[in-house]
Symmetry: C2
Subunit: 208 residues, 2 copies
């Protein structure tokens, strides 16, 4: 090369972060969680491991951030004016992510790792569970203002009652994660499990 | 010793299995899950590791079986005739187990291990999640017969809607596991999150 300056590289330009995230996602599509390490990401991204470590303390946090960035755009809680529509859509979007073979198993592995890794657990609470709970609470509060939810709810209980079951099935493999679960959970949660007396015309037996 | 026969030992008598289970539970009370191994259990039980391996393939299965045996007697789903009473009691009993510092963290560690261990995952499905689901479904079916639950429920959805949230909080540390959650989940699940029109007198705004 005649030019004394080196040609731009991913590292010089700052685009190396994006390359690393893309490489992590590509590896998530190709391999199981425990089948690649940070040097595989570095090689795929064309950066060195030290550079990756300047931004991410370890591979787990890099993969967690990459996966989160890839799914976050699909996870906006809608506000169409009808909570049952928006709740069903949000559950269906989450179930779709969980059921994605390139995402779900990595989420299971990462949350399992988080049980022994305070930093990773902190990442999930700060960037996943905290924001998810806040978004769901905000949507539920709007529904309360619009008369679509009872005003005497414990919102944390209400949120966990609809989103807890899909994490339960994902993490412990206790049942199928199919989109019809979104319909079923929405209907069961909003309407309740007990018989509901219709105005002026109780349906079926009354509770004792 | 003048007698040619050896004195009975734990191993000879068959009581070694019980000793091993007791030793595993004692270690669960004293140490974190990853702070003891099968040789610690063997030493505490007064048996050798090979003997333990003749019954349990590895330490994880031994600890899982020991913990299950210790909590199972506390986990019988009651049938007092009032589902709300029995569901609340079952949730409270489970929450109490989860919140026990000698049990909850070990359950978290074991289920995390199960994400990478098919045999352990199989143990949990066969001996924990399967029987728990069957017991809850049976109790819910009885409540349907007694007019205390809707007859058009998807029972798996209904069961996961009440028990999923407490696993969600246990495994991902997403919220407090206190006994008032048992009351709150029972009330929210049975009554539903949407406003319930009372017979002949709708309370609050109707859903749009």
């Amino acid at each position: 090369m005649t030019n004394l300056e080196q040609a731009p590289t991913a590292t010089d330009s700052g685009r190396w972060r994006e390359s690393a995230v893309d490489a992590a996602l590509a590896l998530c599509r190709e391999r199981a969680f425990h089948e690649f390490d940070i040097s595989d990401i570095a090689a795929r991204a064309g950066v060195d491991v030290e550079t990756l470590h300047s931004r991410w303390p370890d591979r787990k946090l890099l993969v967690a951030e990459a996966l989160l960035g890839s799914v976050a755009p699909r996870m906006t809680f809608g506000a169409t004016g009808d909570l049952s529509v928006d709740l069903r859509a949000q559950l269906a979007a989450t179930i779709e992510v969980f059921a994605d073979p390139h995402i779900g198993p990595h989420l299971v592995a990462l949350t399992a790792e988080a049980s022994r890794d305070q930093r990773l657990a902190g990442f999930f609470l700060k960037h996943v569970f905290g924001p998810n709970r806040a978004a769901a609470r905000a949507r539920f509060e709007l529904a309360q203002e619009q008369g679509q939810l009872r005003t005497d709810l414990d919102l944390n209980t209400a949120v966990d009652m609809v989103f807890g079951p899909i994490w339960f099935r994902l993490l412990l493999n206790t049942g199928p994660l199919t989109v019809d679960l979104a319909d079923s959970l929405t209907e069961h949660a909003l309407r309740g499990l007990a018989p509901r007396p219709e105005t002026g015309a109780p349906s079926g037996s009354s509770p004792a």
